[in-house]
């Protein structure tokens, strides 16, 4: 049932506008929300001077960045340097095409929704690597190489935890998954939620895994040589990806737009901000992980846990074909506890000093 009675082109135009407006507004809100939240966690205030309560701070940032001069290093590869932000930003917008704001209210109700998302989200890495390589700067090259290594190794746990959810939901279409969630999948799939959240944070280089633009080490990582509009695009990419991952988590695990009293799309936005707050919270507390620990964490910790989680879910789906009963929640939480206990005891992740 398409939400809008008009014919295909009207539907496409309306949702294209909705998505672009939604992404830009949410990014502005996310920037403000993060800077105020981070500030208050650090016993300081955060922006409160521009506009009432500092609400116009993102607008002020955008205007300032647009007016900045657009420097391109002379030994840089001009075309690659210029194209990198576009290649990085386009896939993030495409992810929002399949995310349901309300029952059936999405641009394209693909029956392979989540597969499309996982495929498209890895295209953004090419843009980041182009930025790193294009600006011919050692720091950005290091940052870009780290990004490629991290994203490649975090695709696996991301995809596996999504597969487990799809098994429980039975369909791959995002709208179908939300409708199938009588019990939010975060309760049925607690381990899947943790793995997806960790892998998602690593993919978009946030919280403890932000090695790509680790400002203490690599000055500003892959976007060191960017200024002006192109830097604004990368800033947009970072927050748009954070909103995208939060939106996917709300759709997959927190039963998207379902909620008692409020209008459905408002529930969706509230849940997106709750997940985004979780990201801010981890960003405020944890130091950064080293690159070899990041790799070891993906391959030795997340990947096996995701596999076991997949097998357990498959077994449960076989036992109860028509939807999992409520008491499976306690079984899954127990399994999660045991698995984390076992893995953190057995495995020494990450090698120390290499003999040189």
């Amino acid at each position: 049932m398409t939400f809008w009675p008009g014919n295909y082109w009207w539907h496409w135009l309306f949702y294209a506008a909705v998505i672009i407006v939604f992404v830009l507004l949410m990014v502005m809100g996310a920037i403000y929300f993060e800077r105020r939240g981070l500030g208050r966690m650090q016993s300081r205030l955060g922006p409160n001077r521009t506009g009432p309560f500092g609400l116009l701070q993102p607008v002020a940032d955008a205007v300032k960045v647009l007016l900045k001069e657009n420097l391109v290093p002379d030994k840089a590869d001009k075309l690659v340097h210029w194209l990198a932000p576009v290649v990085a930003f386009a896939p993030v917008l495409m992810i929002f095409a399949v995310i349901p704001f309300q029952n059936g209210a999405l641009l394209a109700d693909l029956n392979i929704g989540i597969l499309f998302i996982v495929a498209v989200s890895s295209v953004a890495t090419i843009g980041v690597f182009m930025a790193g390589w294009g600006s011919s700067n050692k720091y950005s090259l290091l940052g870009a190489m780290r990004n490629v290594a991290a994203v490649v190794s975090y695709e696996m746990p991301l995809a596996l935890s999504v597969v487990a959810t799809v098994l429980v939901a039975g369909t791959m279409s995002m709208n179908g998954i939300v409708q199938g969630q009588t019990i939010p999948y975060i309760l049925l799939q607690p381990l899947g939620f943790l793995i997806f959240f960790a892998a998602g944070c690593a993919e978009i280089n946030r919280s403890p895994f932000d090695l790509m633009e680790a400002d203490q080490e690599l000055v500003a990582g892959f976007h060191t040589e960017y200024s002006g509009m192109k830097f604004a695009m990368f800033y947009l990419v970072e927050y748009a990806e954070a909103i995208a991952i939060s939106a996917i988590i709300t759709t997959l695990f927190l039963s998207g737009w379902k909620g008692p009293w409020l209008t459905p799309w408002l529930w969706f936005i509230i849940k997106v901000f709750v997940v985004f707050f979780l990201m801010i919270w981890t960003r405020a507390t944890f130091p950064r992980v080293r690159i070899d620990q990041l790799m070891a964490f993906a391959w030795k910790f997340l990947f096996p846990l995701a596999l076991i989680n997949l097998f357990v879910t498959a077994a449960q789906v076989l036992v109860w074909p028509d939807g999992l009963p409520w008491y499976v929640i306690f079984i899954n939480f127990a399994i999660m506890g045991i698995l984390i206990l076992a893995w953190s005891k057995l495995f020494k992740l990450g090698l120390g000093r290499s003999e040189v």
């Binding site: 966690m41 016993s43 205030l45 919270w281 981890t282 507390t285 944890f286 992980v289 080293r290 984390i340």
Partner: protein, 166 residues
Amino acid sequence: MKFERFGLGLLKGMTVTLRNLLRHPTVNQFPEQRLNISRRTRGNELVWSRERCTGCGTCAKTCPQGAIVIETSVNMTDNKYEVDKYQVDTGYCIQCGLCVEACPYDALFMGYAFERAQYRRGDLVQSDDALLESPERPASGYYHPDVASKLPRQTLLVDKIVEKRK
């Protein structure tokens, strides 16, 4: 990297950040809310009193930066120095307070105000009447306990000041 305590250490850390989120931020909106500065503050200007000054030049000698220039002429009638020019280059002055400490006649004070930036380097050099004490150039209580007791008491962060937030 090993989860020695299965991630519990991480969660304990997060409770601390959450508690700080709910706590009152220790911050002060400077232009609107002004806290009282220390009574002995060494502001970036000197306050000179013409009556007490006898032109002995001790302050000029002890200044490590040589920021004080003093020119006196001999007044034969009542046998003392007349101070013709007393000039302080606040650009050179590092506000160490040694001159105020060394002045035997308590004629020199450190400034109490601290917003004394100028647009031109030349304006930093203040001389004679510009140095006298006046309402917008109050004297600080550094090495002058009597002046200090008249100034407002310093607001301390230790006293957990809870001020209105804009």
